[in-house]
């Protein structure tokens, strides 16, 4: 079972290693982890996809909360949120197959960001399923390199994940 957690942390050096270290030490499996600063430069937001049952997810949340640099841990519910991942794919593209690849990219609303004589780089955003489907279609042409950012997610509507400001 995969669960997405949104974790607000202090934007300090060493915080990422504390969080990553906690996962390895406690034997939790991370599917993906994406991190960057938020609208408040003092705070970073990590989106972590955890693989594990309810007990594991509960423990992950509690153990993360014990870290002094972790400010807030929230569970992201798939139906009530938008999640995206960005992927860059370098694919073999001899002139005779190029138009076919461009056609597939168009269907997926992907962008071609670089073309050379024998290959091209395609940029795609979407949720995990879309990215996987796209990858499958490109495989026969020969994927030379593939880089994914990991999933990031936000809640739909006005619901936000923010630190409670104190009076």
């Amino acid at each position: 079972m995969k669960t997405t957690l949104s974790v607000l942390v202090e934007n300090h050096p060493g915080v990422l290693s504390r969080v990553a270290g906690l996962f390895s030490r406690r034997g939790f499996n991370i599917d993906s982890l994406a991190v960057g600063t938020t609208e408040n430069p003092e705070i970073s937001r990590m989106t972590i996809v955890v693989d594990g049952d309810e007990y594991i997810v509960e423990q992950v949340k509690k153990q993360l909360n014990k870290l002094v640099d972790v400010i807030k841990v929230s569970k992201i519910i798939p139906e009530e949120s938008v999640s995206r991942e960005l992927v860059l794919i370098k694919v073999d593209a001899e002139p005779q197959v190029r138009s076919e690849i461009i056609h597939i990219a168009e269907i997926f609303r992907a962008n071609i960001v670089d073309v050379s004589r024998k290959s091209m780089i395609i940029e795609l955003t979407g949720d995990k399923d879309k990215v996987s489907a796209f990858e499958e279609l490109l495989k026969p042409f020969g994927i030379k390199e593939l880089v994914r950012t990991g999933v990031i997610a936000v809640n739909r509507g006005t619901k936000t994940i923010k630190i409670e400001e104190e009076e």
Partner: protein, 554 residues
Amino acid sequence: MKITAAEALIRSLEMEDVSVVFGYPGGAILPVYDSLLHSKKIKHVLTRSEQAAAHAASGYARVARKVGVCMATSGPGATNLVTGIATAYMDSVPVVAITGQVSTSLIGRDVFQEVDITGATAPFTKHNYLVKKAEDIPRIVKEAFYIASTGRPGPVLIDLPKDVAETRIEFKYPEQIALRGYKPKLDGHPLQISRAAEAINKAQRPVICAGGGINSAGAEEELLKLAEKAHIPVATSLMGIGAFPEDHPLSLGMMGMHGTPYANIAVTESDLVIAAGARFGDRLTGRVTGFAPKAKIIHIDIDPAEIGKNVKADIPIVGDVKRILAEILKEVQPKQTSEWNDRIAELKKKSFLYNKNDKLCPQEIIEALSSKTEGNAIITTEVGSHQMWVAQYYRFIKPRTFISSGGLGTMGYGLPAAIGAKFARPEQNVINICGDGSFQMNLAEMATAMENNLSLKMILFNNKGLGLVRQLQEFYCKKRYSQVNFGFVPDFVKLAESYGIKAKRIDSREELDNALDELISEKGCFLLECMVDINENVYPMVLNGSPINEMIGG
């Protein structure tokens, strides 16, 4: 006036009311030791290894109920602290460890005595700091003491690079702490408290399982009142020893792997387990599926992550156990003794006994010591058979008088911890009980004891080997004994004497009485070496994978 960050560190320690620091100097921490010379309030105790400094700080912290402080230099100094820090972490002991670090411009270049100690200790510190800016020092010290001593206590490390320590700053000690990621919850949820009280009122066969949290929170009075009000028998974990007076009729002694049969049976038969400041460690529960099978579980713990981690709780209450017990007490109805109390009394009648043979038995030494000191000594231990016998046969009646490494099981803990304990309570008789295995791990600390004119007592069970490991090999390796007998042991009496310590060796029952009197009345340090049989096992014993009511020798 500007002062160096090293001086600011010392002043900050003074602001935190630190009166004693255990440590060992070195190159990268030179500025701190230089500043320490000017402090009139802080006494520095020079141990003989950094590990001992960390254990001494831990022993001090547990007895004094204050933060213990240790310091060491970078590299090997810092890595030697690691075992002590991990020991403190596993037993939730508030310790602040300060390490020197190479200068910031050199960090990461593998220079002399450089090690990434914040990285190394991250898994077993509550928090740690690598100080990058000198002006952060007062804030960091304030935060470190706050984090170490509040919530679930634990060690915090401050790593101070040499160039940062030498930087001059304006000293101003902060009054407030702003940690948005750290807010320990102290008050229990009122609804959960009411549910717990109701469960206690309804229970026919309740048992309290008191853990180390009672000792560290100072909740012994609330525990006693609750137990007496509803006539609830009390078992303790190893860390909970002393939390409830063992001479009390409601006391079941220690439960778990080497616990008393009556404690383990009572828990198994009970219909309500009230775990107070105990984390249901594996040594306590035995096989989890057979643990208290008929019971509802109330779990009181300050650390939310402990709730449901090992044993599922029916009524979890997160918060300070002292406050929560006081609140529960208000809603619990007084009860008369019941059939359950009769059952407990009957279980307790069949006491567990060792076989007294013609040889001097380690268990009888502890029993004799217990009656001679009337539970008025602070007993520290190392790790091994002797530790379990102390837990079983010494009658502890006061909190924080049993100081031992429970979670990590660190051999070499007892002697330095005894030094720390003596600094916390100089008027108390402090006795370290050890085996010859663990004694040899930190015996150099006899020098620290002598240097500081401490009256430290040591009882050494010499079986020329590692008795508890031997016992494990007997049960789990079909008596294939591997590396559990020492081919050479020193003359411990002469060794102690070379430190200027009075020492005596006994090997018969007839000598025991006088020897213990001599040990207790001696004004200085004293080592009593007792020759015992390595084949003496610790019973009762619950085998791995068995529920706690299935005991060998119970």
